[in-house]
């Protein structure tokens, strides 16, 4: 009974938030809509990373390669093929998940740090090919002026599209983490040996996690193309992968919405700091140093902990 009402409350809150975000499209000026769309794309990317990082406990060091592959897939279909745009939007996440499957097959059997390093080497291989293949991918220039469908080509259209896609993706990911699969996945994170002992196929779960995370990273990649109208190889360079790791850390990687919050903070901070100085990465570095020293559980992690502690106090009294 109680759980049911909590479920209804959550659905209500989600519907309210969605309506609120959509209404913003009517009132906000173009720049803020653009900024919000960018936050949603980046936040979706960070949330998809957290699916395997926070919930799965896997050292996903090179997640941005799936984001980049999704974005390039859409960009290439839009610019170089006569296929209708919707095929591109469907193909991009699928291409990312195929890459996730292939890389996952090669990497999941390895333990933490080795897993991460092999992922970085495979990801760098993909990056190197994209970076060098001028005739196909545009090399280090990337592809610009991508013809996004008219309906979602305006800043308002792109924003509404980003809100709807992000909301749908978050809903699906939320269901995944609260499903039996998600619970098992988190169990593997906390104690892989015990999970193996009770008969759970650890490798299969981790592989599935890789494919799912790559899929949603690909979706985030299509949002980026829609919002920016361009792609470039830096999207799959390892530094971006570490930046989204920072977003997860900042927001709190044991929470569901933490990475989204972290992405919002980082993207806004970059925009604001960018107005005053060109030394944005210096600021980001300092933020990260302070974060690791004083707030290793992230903003939402601390809030949740505080609430739990508060709840316990109330119960004690």
């Amino acid at each position: 009974m109680k759980a049911q009402s909590a479920g209804i409350r959550k659905t209500g809150a989600a519907a309210g938030a969605l309506t609120g975000f959509l209404l913003l499209a009517l009132v906000l000026p173009r720049f803020y809509l653009y900024l919000l769309s960018l936050i949603l794309a980046t936040g979706l990317l960070a949330t998809s990373l957290n699916l395997v990082l926070g919930f799965g406990g896997m050292y996903q060091f090179h997640h941005s390669v799936f984001y980049g592959v999704g974005a390039y897939c859409l960009a290439l279909i839009l610019t170089r093929s006569g296929l209708p745009a919707w095929i591109g939007y469907l193909a991009a996440p699928l291409a990312a998940s195929v890459l996730g499957l292939v890389m996952g097959l090669l990497t999941v059997r390895l333990s933490k740090l080795y897993f991460g390093m092999l992922q970085i080497s495979l990801g760098s291989l993909v990056w190197a090919i994209v970076y060098r293949w001028y005739s196909f991918t545009g090399g280090d220039d990337g592809i610009h002026g991508i013809p996004v469908p008219e309906l979602i080509g305006t800043s308002t259209g792109a924003y509404v599209f980003a809100v709807l896609v992000t909301a749908a993706s978050l809903a699906v990911m939320y269901c995944i983490v609260s499903s039996p699969f998600g619970m098992t996945f988190a169990g593997i994170r906390d104690n892989p040996e015990r999970c193996r002992a009770v008969g759970i196929d650890v490798t299969a779960h981790q592989l599935a996690g890789q494919v799912l995370a790559a899929f949603f990273a690909g979706v985030a990649g299509t949002l980026f193309v829609t919002v920016e109208g361009s792609v470039f190889p830096d999207m799959m360079f390892w530094t971006l992968s570490l930046e989204i790791l920072i977003m997860c850390l900042l927001g709190g990687w044991f929470t569901f919405f933490g990475p989204m919050l972290g992405a919002a903070i980082i993207v806004m901070l970059r925009t604001v700091v960018g107005i005053y100085t060109e030394y944005w990465t210096l600021v980001l570095g300092l933020v990260l140093i302070l974060l690791i020293f004083f707030l290793p559980e992230g903003v939402l992690g601390i809030l949740q902990k505080g609430r739990q502690a508060g709840g316990k106090d109330a119960a004690g009294n």
């Binding site: 390895l110 970085i120 760098s124 570490l242 850390l249 944005w280 990465t281 210096l282 570095g285």
Partner: protein, 297 residues
């Protein structure tokens, strides 16, 4: 290139170029491996220290008008500057974080990559710099019809010297023995009354000194630019992993694989030369996931 244009002489020349590249890669990644093996810190800032080493070398050598003496002074000073920076970093911040998990340490050192990157931009600007090799090792000699740069030969001499020095340090000195013991069982070393913290600081500084030395040695061979930190650190990490974590000889082997595949890739397919070493790494890791030689952990 003409069809069948890869002559034996060209191949030999590329192998030598690859080996001199190996020297740089080995020096940098052996430092990284040392820190990773003993302190278990995946130090992403290692690449930044390499870049700082290169920029400081440029500045010091330019201060003396890019003479041979100036270059030698720069070669001595730049790694020491880097070592000093790393000492401050270790004693001031890193030593408080040893009990954190690898992911945190990785991100923490990445923070310094970001900070150092912008500091270098502030001090030296965004333009690239170039430094010519000192007169004594300038120019090239003839190698079966192909010119072989003297500086590359100089590097080929430096590599084994550093390897030997490192081997002596870890196997024949007290601090090296303590460091190796601490890598295996830190608590035990602590328990018999040795201040492990100081040993760790020393190892960290030595590792970073090697990053600075690599940067100093590479300075005359390429443009000194922003972004050279990002390239080298990935290469160094991959070398350390394929060689075997914490294994100095593994770093040498890994560097040779990386340097040679890169050099030969340039000969075979210049546009995608960059793909060759990464492919080699992937193949090695698929066959031997824990590296070619024995990893410390």
């Amino acid at each position: 290139m003409d069809s069948g244009g890869i002559t034996v002489a060209a191949l030999m020349q590329q192998v030598l170029v690859g080996l001199s590249r190996t020297t740089i890669l080995f020096i940098v990644s052996s430092g990284l491996s040392l820190v990773l093996g003993v302190l278990r810190i995946p130090n992403v800032a290692h690449g930044s220290l390499y870049m700082i080493g290169a920029f400081v070398t440029y500045s010091v050598a330019s201060f003396f008008g890019q003479t041979t003496a100036g270059f030698i002074i720069a070669l001595a000073v730049a790694p020491l500057v880097v070592a000093a920076v790393s000492l401050v970093l270790e004693r001031g911040l890193l030593c408080h974080l040893y009990d954190r998990e690898h992911l945190m340490l990785l991100l923490f050192t990445f923070a310094f990559t970001l900070v150092f990157g912008d500091l270098v931009k502030m001090i030296w600007g965004s333009d690239y710099r170039s430094l010519s090799a000192p007169a004594i090792v300038q120019g090239s000699f003839d190698l079966g019809g192909f010119p072989f740069p003297r500086y590359s030969l100089f590097l080929l001499v430096m590599g084994p010297l550093v390897a030997l020095g490192l081997w002596l340090l870890t196997n024949k000195t007290k601090i090296g023995k303590i460091a190796r013991a601490a890598a295996v069982d830190r608590e035990m070393v602590d328990a018999i009354g040795i201040d492990v913290s100081k040993v760790f600081a020393a190892v960290f500084v030595i590792g970073c000194y090697l990053a600075g030395l690599g940067g100093a040695l590479v300075a005359p061979t390429q443009n000194i630019t922003q972004g050279m930190d990002h390239t080298i650190i990935i290469e160094a990490f991959l070398i350390v992993i394929i060689g075997g974590l914490g294994n100095i000889w593994g770093a040498l082997l890994g560097a040779a694989i990386f340097g040679l595949t890169d050099a030969i890739g340039i000969l075979i397919w210049p546009q995608f030369a960059i793909v060759f070493p990464y492919t080699a790494v992937v193949i090695v890791l698929l066959i031997r996931p824990r590296g070619l030689l024995k990893a410390i952990w």
